[in-house]
Point group: C2
Chain length 389, copies 2
């Protein structure tokens, strides 16, 4: 087990109807709010009106900035930074899923920064030290950005997708009402599930030894997903199952599960190239890339893959041939993704042309990928090839 | 699942040698420190000197208040409050286990309070709104007080043991080096384990439905204890196993595992009477009381006890007679406590006279106990009787 520092002060306000508390939670930090959201589905659902009522009741004023798209764009971030400066915004409220929150984080770190906000994303070497205070009303359980210290943004020109991070980037509060996720379409629900599971698995596949406790917490979180995702696909309005997924999405990525362990993140970064290049859903990309990454690296640590198989997927351990159990775990993960309606090959994802050379080179632009296995461009390319299907 | 608010801002600094950071973490909050500890074992071990060096290097001055005993006493708390006021203390540093931390919390809430600090403990109705900032150097994984919002104090006169709680009572930081626990005697290690497991089980046994995720996190934490406690009893210097237990002790009681669920706490309160009356170790008392409580209430929710048995203790579910599986879970918990050297009956605990009437009445002084089953004095008495052995 590695030494670690863990601190996650995000206040989680969870349950039925909790969006009514948005105003009072906001008023603790600011009175002039940037209200950031996506395509307008929050207006159709009535959530926008409820949030605005709550802000008004708490004496807060706001300026709207809608228009966040999946794989959120740098151009809107820049517009948001200008708007915040002009309107003297002192608080950002993100109403939406991971894309909206990540866009809000980028705006929040851009406002106090003298240079270009993309500097934080381009090199990963510039430390983020300040962010406008940010609150979240979460509508999609997936990215875990509501309590994480990271943000992923796509540069419009050249479709480059990059991440930035810093402890100051954790939201001050997250309003989480599982009822708001009843209307999520099945495909988006499944994509969110793949993202959540990937956040756990990026931490689970580690070379750090002596991590029994966090191993078990990871396994518990994965088993929760395996049980509850099929339930909500069958019964979208099942509050309890939606609630398990929503709370698991936060815990999967609030850093608890990674305490004392070196995490991997190669699959995420390999997928970022894919969704940057083809603008596919991040979760769908992960459902394709993660099993391929597993097949590429399994032989380097059969024991860990066998543990994953036995503890998460109830595979019978094969004492004579542990690699059989290990392989069966990957097979069951893949079958699970299929069963919830996700693609598990590039072809199924709709990627039929070959840009693997370009993507492999771009993926390692900031350095080798991963920690479980360190990957250069050739190793990354192999993952894309295994994912071809 | 119930609506909940979860926020735990305690900064965890975990790993080998981290006590060297005590001074820099302290200096964020204060310069005039009350250094609170127990019997002096921290001096023998050299920890006291290392902490003082770190404080000096950070420019902090301190006043010593040693003498905390297990089941920490109100008299020393009062002395500490006077000392803090006289010396204009602006930060409390607790170096020790749960008793030292709980004593420090009581001092911390007593200093800004106009009336008697016992008011917070006597009635549980007076809200705690302010506490001097508190930091912890943890030496015993057990109470979870290093990140919890509670404190338990024993009134010297009449041996009354009571708890108080409030969100402001969470420590600002906890320095946690598993190496500091290598020298814990086996009995104290085992008592700590019983306390940790009880904190999980008090949350696990709930009537709240739709709590799959936290169920699994609880089970993961219990399994971690079941695996690692025997290892450290055999190899006290096993860093990895000590580390699992230490981190589990915090997570067991930092409120994550209780999110969205109504917890019970009857066993803790029934035990508080016991350790208040006989001054026995809290963990040993819990090893006696918890299985007795389970036998008293099992028939009211066989399904939950069967789940506990199957998922934590790998009991084969008995489809024809689920109560057999449920009973087997209680039997295995009891056998586990025995196997790690704990008493599981009042007789083994050294309690041979009969004060159950007095304790049962005192236990319900502030109201009925528990939520899984609401217990009056007669029900509490039955638990003591089942514990007799």
């Amino acid at each position: 087990m590695e030494n670690f520092v863990f601190q996650n002060p995000t206040k989680i306000v969870f349950g039925r109807g909790v969006e009514k508390d948005t105003g009072s939670e906001t008023a603790v930090f600011g009175r002039k709010v940037l209200l950031h959201y996506g395509s307008g589905s929050v207006k159709k659902s009535g959530l926008y009106d409820r949030v605005c009522q709550s802000l008004t009741a708490a004496g807060a004023a706001w300026v709207d900035l809608p228009g966040v798209v999946p794989n959120p764009r740098l151009s809107l971030v820049r517009k948001g930074i200008d708007l915040c400066r002009k309107e003297k915004i002192d608080f950002i409220l993100a109403v939406g899923g991971g894309s909206v929150i990540d866009s809000a984080k980028a705006i929040g770190i851009g406002v106090p920064h003298q240079g270009d906000v993309w500097d934080f994303y381009a090199t990963r070497t510039l430390p983020v030290k300040q962010m406008l205070p940010l609150g979240v009303v979460l509508t999609i359980p997936a990215a875990g950005s509501e309590a994480s210290n990271g943000s992923v943004i796509t540069k419009d020109e050249g479709t480059v997708k990059r991440d930035a991070g810093g402890e100051c980037m954790r939201p001050r509060f997250a309003i989480m009402n599982p009822e708001l996720t009843f209307t999520l379409p099945p495909y988006q629900t499944a994509c969110g599930a793949a993202d959540i599971m990937a956040h756990v698995m990026e931490r689970y596949f580690t070379r750090t030894t002596g991590v029994d406790f966090t191993d078990r917490l990871c396994e518990a979180t994965l088993k929760t997903m395996v049980r509850n995702v099929p339930i909500v696909l069958e019964s979208p309005n099942d509050y309890e199952a939606r609630a398990q997924i929503m709370w698991a999405s936060t815990v999967a990525h609030n850093d608890l599960l990674g305490t004392g362990r070196v995490s991997d993140w190669a699959s995420h970064l390999i997928e970022h190239e894919l969704s940057g290049e083809y603008d596919v859903a991040h979760g769908a990309g992960l459902a394709v890339i993660f099993p391929a990454w597993m097949r590429a690296v399994m032989s380097t640590d059969v024991r860990r893959f066998a543990q994953f198989a036995c503890r998460v997927w109830d595979v019978d351990y094969d004492f004579a041939a542990p690699e059989r159990a290990a392989r069966e775990g990957i097979r069951r993960l893949t079958a699970f993704f299929k069963s919830i309606g996700l693609p598990t090959t590039l072809t199924e994802l709709g990627v039929t042309d070959d840009r693997t050379d370009k993507m492999s080179k771009s993926a390692v632009e900031r350095g080798l990928l991963g920690n479980f296995v360190k990957m250069d461009a050739a190793a990354v390319k192999k993952v894309y090839e295994l994912a071809r299907g």
